[in-house]
């Protein structure tokens, strides 16, 4: 994500906005007519895979799925480089999801077609960041945004790259997490170097009245050796209808999904809940990335 300048990000988001009526099925598009997109997913990911598939089909393209990894040549010991070289001959673009860090960059070295990183390893998931930015722009605003990110900020890759991207727009950031899952301090220092105002706390109540966007993430049970500790944290970092009584009326709540219990179901019907719309925004965002990567939109 760090490879993108603010101007380039804005350009992708502008393109996504133009394509949104197509993503909603209100307009038809033949932009990817005759093009084949290969979805090479080496680990399960329902939303990312489906939204890429929908994005391709809405633009008139065809999808080539790898199918189950267990039944493929990968299980026969083929390395990723060879797989990429072969699929490059079949498809016009490859979306890659892979468990190893840096696999998308390596794939790009071996591919003769464009590669889109659909999430590699534990650090990068750039199309998620694009869709988060698009959601924030559509539902709130990017420039000078007051945002809180809550939950597992230590391991959550979506919040790490979102922080970096939002710093290009001069956001004010509040990090809400239990002490064990704080935002890595090198990220905090990087942000402060860029003159970004950063606040850290462990209480949602304390900050809920003072933010425009609340970005929730899931706290995973396995991060806590002590189950009691997990229960305590889980209940403290929970968005409920009661908590939202103290919120700004314009507050938008986002979540990369799946959620477990960090947002209670009574929040879903409020005007604050934008996480399902956020999941939809993955479609126009990925349409824009597909179309730009294949050069069918300049």
């Amino acid at each position: 994500m760090k490879d993108f300048s603010r101007e380039e990000i804005d350009y992708v988001l502008d393109t996504a906005e133009k394509l949104e009526p197509v993503a909603r099925g209100e307009e038809k598009s033949r932009l990817l007519d005759g093009k084949i997109v290969s979805l090479l997913f080496f680990e399960p990911s329902t939303r990312t895979r489906l939204s890429f598939e929908v994005a391709t089909r809405r633009l008139g393209g065809q999808v080539l799925n790898l199918g189950a990894v267990e039944a493929s040549s990968v299980m026969k010991g083929e390395n990723l480089a060879d797989t990429i070289r072969v699929i490059s001959k079949y498809a016009d673009l490859i979306v890659l999801r892979h468990p190893l860090d840096g696999s998308a960059r390596m794939a790009a070295e071996f591919a003769s077609v464009p590669i889109i990183n659909g999430g590699d390893g534990s650090v990068h998931h750039p199309t998620q960041t694009f869709l988060d930015l698009y959601t924030i722009r559509r539902e709130s605003h990017l420039e000078g945004l007051k945002i809180a990110m809550a939950g597992d900020l230590k391991y959550g890759r979506t919040v790490h790259s979102l922080c970096h991207a939002l710093s290009l727009y001069g956001a004010e950031m509040t990090f809400v997490s239990p002490p064990e899952l704080r935002m890595p301090q090198e990220i905090v220092r990087d942000l402060q170097k860029q003159k970004i105002r950063v606040k850290e706390t462990d209480s949602l109540e304390e900050i809920i009245g003072d933010v425009e966007v609340l970005y929730m993430t899931r706290v995973q049970r396995e991060r806590f050796p002590d189950p009691e500790e997990y229960e305590k944290v889980k209940n403290k970092l929970r968005v409920t209808g009661d908590l939202l009584k103290g919120a700004d009326p314009g507050l938008k709540i986002l979540h990369p999904l799946p959620r477990v219990n960090e947002i209670s179901p009574d929040v879903d019907a409020t005007s604050h809940a934008r996480y399902f719309e956020q999941a939809f925004y993955g479609v126009p965002t990925r349409m824009a990335l597909l179309a730009l990567a294949m050069g069918v939109i300049e």
Binding site: N79, A81, L100, D101, G102, S103, R105, G121, V123
Partner: protein, 156 residues
Amino acid sequence: MKEKRDLKIQAIENGTVIDHIKAGQALNVLRILGISSAFRATISFVMNAPGARGKKDVVKIEGKELSVEELNRIALISPKATINIIRDFEVVQKNNVVLPSYVEGVVRCTNSNCISNSNEPIESKFTVLQSEEEGVSLHCLYCEHVISEEIADYLL
């Protein structure tokens, strides 16, 4: 005194002398240059030799002039080392090592989940940065992991 020193490490007729290596790093210098038992030239080295600026290591490689690119890798582990090219017992060229901006296949990424540590047909690739606060650091071009300490421990 001079005679005693000559016993430790003799002058060479032709080749490369790497001087002012950080004390204790001579073996790592050989590793970083890819010098193994298959290397045919005569190599001699001293470790922890007393020098004007404290202890140092020295490596002499006879009959072979290494390329600037190979030699500059030494800066990763010993930034003050100097390179002397010797012809007919004379120093014909003397340079400080210069930190390269990029290294390939020299250091292993410390992130065990990095694609460069898997069975793919690729070499590790790092950009090299230097700052006053943090010294030399290597940034993996694949996974973006940073190695800033004990680089010598991760030589391939």
